[in-house]
Symmetry: C2
Subunit: 269 residues, 2 copies
């Protein structure tokens, strides 16, 4: 490929890095692609990194050594996180969302790509101290959120199925008790989906008593994997004592007033 | 915000545009954000567009008029599409994927974010002549693919539930007959998820006889919506005559040889 102007090369580099968060690119790869010296590409990376950080969009990490390279890490600033979560809480406070039974309709938000991509980047920032190998969720409504989180980490997603209808070869199942309704349920996973020894980040859309999250932790343990973090988009303030203690929620649901038509949901800042 | 160097501004613009494909940004918005004249930003957009197109990464469209602006449209070149689909077919041809019963294990690929993001961009390019309002899929395995497609279009996703266990307010259900096993099943959707009059793009991971896709078309019609296209990642070559005629597959599965241990899967180029 013929040489291109620096600014055009930087646009292409930004797009390629951002398309694969967490993926380590060698400078040699870009050097071939753009017919440009590695030293020049290093300067490009400094520029991209400075701009990302200045606008609170993320960062570019350099890994040194023979097998080194550069990778893009989404890292929204606290200012941007505050703004995104405040907006989401506002959208979720619309009284039209109240469903008979005191539930909150939130599928539209859970299935809006740009909102879930933002939430995924927020989890990436909040869980920056853990180094999972997989992101895990249980079907169905949390899948886009967990997928976006996996994408922000550059990791594969594992989806646990409800029931035992897995037809993907040998599987492992566990029974669990939903914390709120006290029903016994089954969840399962194909054996080959999660190798023994893996570190897992559990992501779900909603947590009340924590029974489902505890089920995923048990299922991971059953195959010899270890849960290193649990994140939910929304947790309810009641019951205060949940089945799992160590979880991170982005929003706390304080009250859904069926009669008052008031929803009290607040960002965790 | 103080003025920044042009190249840093262009990095930030590229990231912001790419974070929200299909979203129309006014130049006024960027003008405030960067304290830069609109005419300068117009030049930046030309640079970004040229670079995207030169590297087969997408394009930037300008919408003129008072409510106009710019938007990023993912549009991988045919060369990149060929490369991506050929790689995916190769990965799927691994004989270890054969599951007793002649099925193909593909969850790992369906749940790998960077592969599904690529597939979503391919659907965006292949369906560039239709203008849907929603992307629709049915749970579970096609959700990451449909989510990525919705993201590439900048549209919301609608997820149809199997069975009638929807607890999200009034819902509409239909019965459908799976084309391959001839069983009667139910699928449902909350009424408020899909407004009457909407145009829908149906996306699923796998099609054999087309019963599930036909079910989604019936369900869309039931709420007064119209399906304007159907895309699947993989379709089987048999049965040649499927329940729906008008669909687009990215890969065709010719054979899963349980005894020969050979998988014949080919990109549709």
């Amino acid at each position: 490929m013929t040489k291109v102007r620096r600014v055009e090369r930087i646009v292409a580099l930004t797009k390629m890095l951002m398309d694969m968060p967490g993926h380590l690119f060698s400078l040699g790869h870009f050097s071939n692609l753009f017919s440009t010296a590695k030293s020049t590409l290093s300067e490009d990376m400094v520029t991209i990194k400075q701009s990302m950080q200045e606008f609170g969009l993320g960062t570019v990490q350099t890994v040194s050594g023979a097998s080194g390279g550069v990778k893009y890490v989404p890292y929204p600033s606290e200012e941007r996180i505050n703004h995104m979560l405040t907006q989401m809480a506002k959208q979720l406070s619309d009284p039209d969302r109240i469903i008979p039974g005191g539930f909150l309709y939130m599928s539209d938000i859970l299935f809006t790509p740009e909102l879930m991509m933002q939430a995924g980047e927020i989890f990436r920032a909040r869980f920056s101290s853990v180094t999972p190998d997989y992101v895990m969720t249980v079907e169905t409504k949390g899948i886009p959120l967990a997928f976006s989180t996996a994408r922000a980490f550059g990791l594969p997603l594992v989806i646990v199925r409800q029931g035992s209808k897995v037809t993907e070869g040998p599987s492992v199942s566990i029974n669990y008790v939903t914390g709120s309704t006290k029903r016994i349920q089954t969840m399962s996973l194909p054996r080959r989906a999660l190798p023994s020894g893996s570190k897992v980040l559990v992501i779900d859309d909603f947590m009340k008593a924590g029974g489902t999250a505890q089920g995923m932790i048990d299922l991971a343990n059953e195959v010899g994997a270890q849960v290193v973090g649990t994140g939910v988009l929304i947790a309810t303030i009641e019951p205060e004592k949940k089945l799992i203690e160590d979880y991170l929620a982005l929003l706390m649901l304080h009250d859904v007033g069926q009669h008052t038509k008031m929803i009290d949901i607040r960002p965790v800042l």
